[in-house]
């Protein structure tokens, strides 16, 4: 498939040049002291008073040589490992929403550990998703155990790769200890690290924070998988210009990427972004805007320039329910990004600008994910698939429906959705004109009523619970059948 590109080769080079000018001239405010020392040691100019680090172009060029071309997500079951760009586009749930739409009452509330267990199991079963980025927070987690509870509830219920962040070093170390128990020891964990870490260490414009930067350095030193997402918001934290937002965001990506190479040469990277244009009528955040997709296409092009995998939060929506707005914002954003050559999309399950998880939304997004994968496959050319012999056999006026070839190919040639309706109108009316949210919730309930094949065995669960004080067993509760989507 040829990608859609917004910029010419020369323009891409000029954006790169502009980023070098930003890094060398304006610099990055680095609030983490260890990071400042690393930059200084690599030949950057560090202002001891302000904390601003200026990165000369020669330094960027030198460390850029070490960027590796691929990134691997690992899961409890190696069959679910995914390497991008080779296995792309991979689909990841969008994550860390504080709230959930309660599937029983339909009202919004804080999410809990049990919700994470439910969602993890569901995502394990949904073929559209490759990686489970922990969808919500857990409001019921004991203080200081938030990350442990979230990762435990997630890892217990899926064999797919799990991804999320941690707020401080203590919680990060707990999570790594959890990973080691699951992997069967620290040595085994180092070989197959099944927790995939993600942070936003760069706060636009041009600032690197303390805690997330610390975590990225720590994980990179250990050779564990970690990457960052760059999130400029035009009009607020970058200029009100798409090309300037691209140049500034690219400088921000480069600062993080070269820092990681300084820590450990050859550290895998993902060029991941969530770049938006603020709605200046009110200043509101607009991740569902079409400009989020346009910028993603631009950043994917920049990622190809550096030969690193491209990703981002894309296919997000500002809508609060599974309405037309939710559908077109997710659909248009994700489709544009895919055509622009993205390798990894964080797109599943969240409504209301990343603030609330919804079971129906994740089912709909699973279908969108499957359609995107189908779209990426495009039309594969082969002599055999041209079916010239079959066309001759059936001939003018015949039918292909009774041909064995049709039987063999009909389950794989077209993607067959379960949530989208293709019923005749009479049947749709007989069933009670069920709208998409209810159909989606019905599908989710059916899956969650089954036994989870991915769940930890009892012995492993016991070992984990006895290792961590205050950690309690978590189980998903499914979705009760009196939920709004019952019909």
């Amino acid at each position: 498939m040829k990608f859609s590109e917004c910029l010419s080769e020369e323009e891409v080079r000029q954006v790169h040049e502009a980023s070098l000018i930003i890094l060398e001239g304006t610099g990055i405010l680095v609030r983490n002291e260890k990071a400042r020392r690393i930059f200084a040691g690599a030949g950057c100019r560090v202002d001891g008073k302000t904390g601003v680090v200026k990165i000369p172009r020669t330094v960027v060029d030198q460390y850029r040589q070490a960027f590796p071309p691929s990134f691997t997500f690992r899961g409890r079951d190696p069959r679910y490992d995914r390497t991008i760009p080779r296995d792309g586009p991979i689909m990841i749930t969008a994550s860390s929403a504080p709230d959930i739409i309660d599937p029983e009452t339909g009202s919004q509330r804080r999410a809990t550990a049990s919700d994470i267990a439910n969602i993890s199991f569901l995502v394990n079963e949904l073929p559209g998703f490759d990686v489970f980025s922990i969808s919500t927070l857990a409001a019921d987690a004991p203080q200081g155990l938030s990350s442990l509870v979230r990762f435990y509830a997630a890892l217990k219920n899926t064999v797919k790769p799990v991804r999320s962040n941690t707020p401080n070093m203590k919680e990060l170390e707990d999570v790594l200890a959890l990973g080691a128990i699951i992997a069967g020891g620290e040595e085994a964990y180092r070989k197959r690290p099944i927790i995939n870490h993600h942070y936003c260490p760069v706060v636009s414009p041009l600032t690197m924070d303390v805690e997330s930067t610390e975590a990225v350095i720590y994980l990179t030193e250990k050779g564990l998988p970690v990457y960052g997402t760059i999130c400029p918001n035009a009009g607020m934290s970058s200029p009100m210009s798409l090309i300037a937002t691209l140049a500034q965001g690219n400088a921000e990506f480069l600062s993080l990427a070269v820092l990681m190479q300084m820590v450990r040469s050859g550290s895998p990277l993902i060029y991941a972004v969530l770049a938006t244009v603020a709605d200046m009528r009110t200043g509101n955040y607009a991740p569902g805007a079409i400009e989020t997709a346009i910028l993603q296409m631009g950043f994917s092009q920049m990622a190809r320039y550096y030969h690193v995998p491209s990703g981002g939060y894309i296919g997000l929506t500002n809508a609060y329910t599974n309405d037309a707005q939710s559908g077109y914002e997710t659909g248009m954003g994700a489709t544009a990004a895919l055509l622009g050559g993205i390798d990894m999309l964080n797109m599943g399950g969240l409504l209301g600008s990343l603030m609330v998880f919804d079971f129906a939304k994740v089912m709909i997004d699973n279908e969108i994910a499957m359609m995107l994968k189908q779209l990426k496959n495009g039309i594969r050319f082969s002599e055999a698939d041209l079916c010239l012999e079959l066309i001759r056999t059936v001939g003018p006026g015949g039918t292909f429906m009774d041909q064995m070839h049709t039987l063999k190919k009909m389950r794989t040639t077209a993607y067959l959705p379960k949530v989208a309706t293709r019923d005749m109108k009479e049947r749709w009316e007989e069933e009670g004109r069920i709208e998409i949210g209810s159909r989606a919730l019905r599908e989710a309930r059916l899956i969650l009523a089954r036994d989870n094949p991915a769940a930890f065995d009892a012995e492993l669960d016991r070992r984990i619970l006895s290792r961590f004080n205050g950690l309690e067993a978590v189980t998903g509760k499914g979705i009760p059948s009196n939920a709004p989507g019952k019909n």
Binding site: R110, L137, Q143, S146, M355
Partner: protein, 215 residues
């Protein structure tokens, strides 16, 4: 119509001209309350009206507030204490562990535009920082913001410390992951979902019309 010129200068976002025109009126011994109310304060009512109607965008609102502030700075030394110079003092900051301050700065600018004395402490402000600033500046209201869900607990600690040491100081919290429920839970005086709401709530608090908001 010289007072109208001040009003127009603010509405055209021209701070320098606003300041110059105020100076000119002071030279002419124009009634101070006329300059204050008709020239400057009235612009904010007009800006608020046009913003609500969708005619003005947020950056225009900010530019108008800046221009108005430039005029106020010239006028303030001439005002007597009772003349509406001081609507109340507000300390504002992003809580410990959080570097996100776009929303908070927006609220700070709009509060200034509305005529409050605003002390903006910046980002990553700990409980001690809020307490000290509230004491030094004799704050009426302390506003706290968080974007990261992980930094929300820091707010609870600050609200609690303020209540214990200075129960007369009101608190307002905000930020994308916050809710009225969270605000109630930590015992903040008020919660606001957005910047214009924060200004409105601050006005009510200062007028003594809000003891605690309820959802």
């Amino acid at each position: 119509m010289a007072i109208q010129d001040i009003f127009n200068a603010v509405m055209e976002f021209d701070g320098e001209r606003t300041a110059a025109l105020v100076r000119e009126e002071l030279g002419k011994k124009t009634d101070l309350s006329l300059i204050l109310n008709e020239g400057l304060i009235k612009t904010m009512d007009e800006v608020g009206r046009r913003f609500s109607a969708g005619e003005l965008f947020l950056p225009e609102m900010l530019q108008a507030a800046k221009a108005m502030k430039a005029g106020m700075e010239v006028l303030r030394p001439h005002l007597s204490s009772g003349m509406g110079g001081r609507k109340g003092t507000i300390v504002i900051g992003t809580v410990k562990g959080d570097l996100h301050d776009i929303g908070k700065n927006l609220v700070a600018m709009m509060l200034e535009g509305a005529g409050f004395e605003v002390i903006n402490l910046g980002v990553d402000v700990g409980t001690e920082g809020f307490l000290r600033a509230a004491e030094v500046h004799k704050a009426d209201l302390v506003c706290m913001s968080a974007l990261l869900t992980t930094t929300m607990p820091a707010m609870a600690a600050t609200v609690k410390a303020l209540q214990e040491k200075h129960p007369q100081i009101k608190t307002m919290v905000g930020g994308a992951p916050l809710t009225q429920g969270f605000s109630d839970q930590i015992g903040a005086t008020a919660y606001s979902a957005d910047a214009p709401g924060a200004v409105e709530t601050a006005r009510k608090i200062m007028a003594g019309r809000v003891e605690r908001t309820d959802g």
